[in-house]
């Protein structure tokens, strides 16, 4: 490697760090300062009231709780549905595989507003408009799309001989899942749970359209605070939104280390 190549590589890494970390740094400082205006390099005084509000204000706490419940439920339900769906599609004929992939991709690729409009009508018909159940169902659609694609990929490369071997060695269907499939699928399952959570956690359009403002979530609160000029609280909320993504990244890496390399 030449000196010029090394320099270019270092510059690119530095640029990436600045692009990723600078907004994060500004958010952290903003969330801890009551007033921080140009041309001051640093805020005059630190203040943690925005974080206290986020945790202790009942309205914010309810929004945070809604987001957590929606994210966790969406993650678990979407993973539970997508795993067998992706598996059966991957092990089926090419036509079925492609049809399922196309449907899953449609749920992912449709603009949230277009998807939300369609889902809003469906949810209203079911009498679930403005309810957390309706919002959950709307979050489930894109999450299921993403996760079906994930598991379709996993099971397309899956070695069926592992299950055949386990079966002829005497393992029942339940034992095969418990002792072979689930341990080997730990990494993709953890990643799917994380992805399902994040899809719901970051939803704005679907929550707004289907929830009709009656279901408050953290992203909606952050949006509202930004629109009303509450920069400090918006920054704290935005950072709170970023925390799960970082946790998920860490959890995925741990799961990756613990998982056998059969399903890469």
């Amino acid at each position: 490697m030449t000196r010029a190549t090394s320099a270019i590589r270092a510059a690119v890494v530095l640029l990436l760090l600045v692009v990723v970390l600078a907004p994060l740094g500004i958010l952290i400082v903003t969330s801890l300062s009551r007033a921080w205006f140009y041309p001051a390099v640093l805020p005059a005084a630190l203040d943690h009231s925005a974080w206290s509000d986020l945790i202790f204000d009942p309205a914010h706490r309810a929004a945070l709780l809604n987001s957590l419940v929606l994210g966790a439920t969406t993650a678990v339900v979407a993973t539970t549905l997508a795993l067998p769906l992706g598996r059966s599609a991957a092990l089926s004929t090419r036509l079925v595989r492609r049809s399922v992939a196309l449907l899953a991709f449609t749920a992912v690729a449709l603009p949230p507003v277009a998807l939300g409009a369609g889902l809003q009508l469906t949810v209203l018909t079911l009498g679930l408009g403005g309810t957390i159940t309706g919002v959950f169902l709307s979050h489930l659609v894109p999450a299921l799309g993403y996760l079906t694609l994930v598991f379709l990929g996993v099971f397309t490369r899956w070695d069926l001989r592992l299950e055949e071997t386990a079966a002829t060695l005497g393992a029942t269907g339940v034992a095969r899942w418990r002792l072979v499939l689930l341990p080997l699928l730990r990494r993709p399952i953890v990643e799917a749970l994380a992805l399902g959570f994040l899809v719901s956690w970051a939803q704005v359009a679907l929550t707004l359209l289907v929830g009709g403002g009656a279901v408050r979530t953290l992203p909606l609160d952050v949006l509202a605070m930004l629109q009303s000029g509450q920069d400090q609280r918006a920054a704290a909320g935005a950072l709170a939104l970023a925390i799960p993504a970082l946790v998920v990244l860490g959890a995925s890496r741990v799961a990756a280390r613990q998982t056998a390399a059969v399903v890469a």
Binding site: D159, T165, T168, G170, V262
Partner: protein, 348 residues
């Protein structure tokens, strides 16, 4: 007493291919016996094993294990263990846990399961590997561990799908020895799929050949080599020269004439025939010592154990004959070939 594995009129489909499959298979295997299934590529050998194991549905007929009809049972209830060509070990388990797996799924306590696993690992001479992960094993070690695991399941029937294919010579020898030991030690009925006659001869007590849409022969290795029932089976065994000639019947005596002379036979009708002759049944005589046509060697192709001589007579007719590799007869030399034994198959 019923045989350990008893297959009656079994039909086997060829999976995703459009061909219909095998029909009317009938064979049985006793405990500690090994049936080698020989067949060309695509003849349905692996499909047969998968059907016996319950990994694919039988297209008719029945499979019985010690008298119990298992045809409709799932794989886990058949007491038939199937070993893939490449040993499939669970990558998230150690060698010991892999081998203990069949005991664990049976509900045996972890301590007992591990004890039995260690016993089988010891019998297969790989006990020292017990703590290793599967991906840290060599090819031969993987085979031995997979065999130990299969035997730890205490199966009535052990199915081996080309276990010696694609192995280097040293590993092949190692695995072959392990299989021979397993046959005697386990008491299970074994079915071994192979396309290699040497493997079949080394391990099997009986040989089943597949061709067309069914079985073409079922015999002991000796019987099959002495009297292959058809030219198709002889070709499958791959150890014979095919020498074209004519059978002439003179009263009660029939004689097979070929470019190298005549061989007395019996039980044949007049007409064109192919003689199947093993290399060890051909005497090569230099010059013109015998009362037989003199042939000119036009080509010699050497193999590890035998050579193939292409010979031509004075009229220009030629034949290819397998001979021992120690035979001295290079291209250009004149020889006489004496067939001490020939299995004749009429050409219709």
């Amino acid at each position: 007493m019923s045989r350990v594995l008893d297959v009656r009129d079994l039909g086997v489909d060829f999976g995703s291919t459009s061909r219909s499959g095998l029909r009317g298979l009938n064979f049985g295997v006793d405990g500690s016996d090994c049936l080698a299934v020989l067949g060309a590529s695509g003849s349905g050998k692996s499909s047969l094993l998968r059907t016996l194991a319950g990994l694919q549905v039988a297209a008719g007929g029945s499979v019985r294990v010690k008298g119990r009809d298992v045809t409709a049972l799932p794989p886990e209830q058949r007491s038939i263990v199937y070993l893939h060509q490449e040993p499939v070990l669970f990558p998230h388990h150690t060698v010991e846990d892999n081998v203990a797996f069949p005991q664990v799924v049976r509900g045996v306590s972890a301590i007992t399961a591990k004890q039995r696993a260690l016993e089988w690992l010891s019998r297969l001479q790989v006990a020292e590997l017990h703590g290793r992960k599967a991906d840290a094993l060599s090819g031969g070690q993987r085979h031995r561990v997979a065999l130990a695991r299969a035997l730890c399941a205490e199966p009535e029937v052990l199915l081996l799908d080309e276990p010696l294919a694609s192995l280097d010579p040293a590993t092949r020898r190692d695995v072959r020895e392990a299989l021979q030991a397993v046959r005697h030690a386990s008491g299970a009925a074994m079915v071994l799929v192979t396309h290699d006659l040497d493997d079949a001869l080394a391990i099997a007590t009986h040989i089943l050949t597949l061709g067309g849409e069914g079985q073409t022969a079922l015999a002991t290795p000796d019987e099959l080599l002495r009297h292959p029932p058809s030219l198709e089976v002889a070709r499958l065994l791959g150890v014979y020269s095919e020498i074209a000639g004519v059978v002439r019947v003179h009263g009660s005596v029939s004689v097979f004439d070929w470019i190298g002379g005549s061989v007395q036979t019996d039980g044949m009708t007049s007409g064109a025939a192919i003689a199947c002759v093993r290399a060890s049944e051909v005497d090569v005589v230099p010059g013109d010592e015998r009362n037989a046509p003199v042939l000119t060697v036009t080509e010699r192709r050497n193999g590890a154990h035998e050579s193939v001589l292409t010979v031509r007579n004075a009229e220009g007719a030629s034949a290819s004959v397998r001979v021992g590799s120690s035979v001295v007869a290079d291209a250009g030399t004149q020889v006489q070939l004496v067939l001490r034994h020939a299995r004749l198959h009429s050409i219709r």
